[in-house]
Symmetry: C2
Subunit: 219 residues, 2 copies
DNA sequence: ATGGGTCCTTGACCTATGTCAATTGCTGAG
DNA sequence: CTCAGCAATTGACATAGGTCAAGGACCCAT
């Protein structure tokens, strides 16, 4: 069984909000289920809500003149979608169809817009988005100019700070994914760092020497 | 001589705003000059404005307990900085110093917050940020999972749409940079595409066959 | 305990792409 | 015109890191 409030609290767009602000949103959400093949909305429909996919999988597509469909995006659990209607668009720019039985959280657009009238909520909402923005901008830079070793260290610094010890709450596989590499490569990089004596990672205990942080700036 | 309104209009954060909204911001901006070495603000100062660097270069740094400085970021012309004080922070979290004689556009925080009271402006501002957010998220995906050929085609699709002809307004060098590769590699990829007959690029005339777009989804 | 299923590691291998260097052509300043 | 300098191309080369395959360690359910 899924806790739908938690699903919402773990999304990119809304996850960083204070619990107060978050509650104001989850207050009015509705859960919807869709059978495989079911259409949630169609291109051109009035955009009255945004959605979070809780379980299942959704296909966003656009139909051209003579009915051929171009898949625009495959939505995975945990993703917010159709959020464009909040600010950009009056109507949905794509159609959304369930690829398998799916459960979704529906958040009324009007509710979000109303909340934004409140300076406190707005502040929080903006802060969250700006943080995300900075993170992504950083991420783009890191991906295009750092090797796996540096990506790993930046990831750790970003998540735990430049400490010399911490409890890891992710599997190596998940870390590999987070830094856009494969478990194999991560494994090799870790082995190299251990050999160099700058890092050990046993079970969930990670130890680092200060020298590990040389050349890794903050932010 | 620099046109400071233009500088602002070309930033990430504010560049996508409607000219109406943009004008409301540039209305109250002030231009400041700083000699090499000059401090714009210091860590802990009350954050009353955000800045756009027009010319020169700024260094953002943090000082630790005993005065050693850690450079957090080097600001390049065209970048907005200190925008964290809009939503996240009351005081500047870093110090800012000119690395060379610099000119900056100063935008009062209060002004921006006041403008956000206006639903129209807010809508525009949000739409802009969300667009940027989507773009970056896409970018992260593309960088970590597409090869140069695909990055090139996606870049073209994003900039001009999936047309079969257009006038290119960028040098190959600039395109290479935009898709995070080198001119040499771009050159080779272009040669391969020409050999395959899917693309030609002479002078600033680019021609493509529809087959070029196979496997490149929209959005 | 046993078997199947993860996760992790390690080795062998391959390929895309970066780097360096040389060549060509174009452009604009003098 | 001519030279300097930049953009673009091409070749030769090096390498980070992905892929595939095999094996070990651990965990859970039967």
């Amino acid at each position: 069984m899924v806790n739908f409030d938690t699903v919402v609290a773990e999304t990119d767009l809304l996850g960083g909000l204070s619990s107060r602000s978050l509650k104001k949103i989850t207050d009015t959400q509705r859960v919807r289920s869709l059978p495989r093949g079911g259409l949630l909305f169609t291109e051109g429909d009035e955009g009255t809500a945004i959605y979070v996919l809780a379980t299942g999988s959704m296909r966003l597509f656009r139909s051209d003149e003579e009915g051929r469909e171009a898949v625009v995006h495959l939505v995975r659990p945990g993703e917010v979608f159709a959020e464009a209607v909040l600010f950009d668009e009056e109507t949905y720019p794509v159609s959304a169809q369930a690829r398998e039985d799916s459960q979704l959280v529906e958040i009324p657009k009007a509710r979000v817009l109303a909340l934004l009238e409140d300076p406190g909520f707005r502040q929080d909402f903006f802060a969250n988005i700006m943080r995300k923005l900075r993170f992504l901008a950083q991420q783009v830079y890191v991906l295009s100019s750092c090797d796996v070793r540096e990506r790993l260290l930046r990831f750790l610094a970003g998540r735990f700070g430049k400490r010399s010890y911490y409890r890891m709450d992710l599997s190596k596989k998940e870390v590999a994914e987070a830094i856009a590499t494969t478990p194999e490569t991560l494994s090799r990089v870790l082995a190299a760092l251990e050999r160099a004596g700058t890092l050990t990672w046993e079970r969930n205990e990670v130890h680092l020497t200060p020298s590990a942080w040389e050349g890794i700036e903050d932010e």
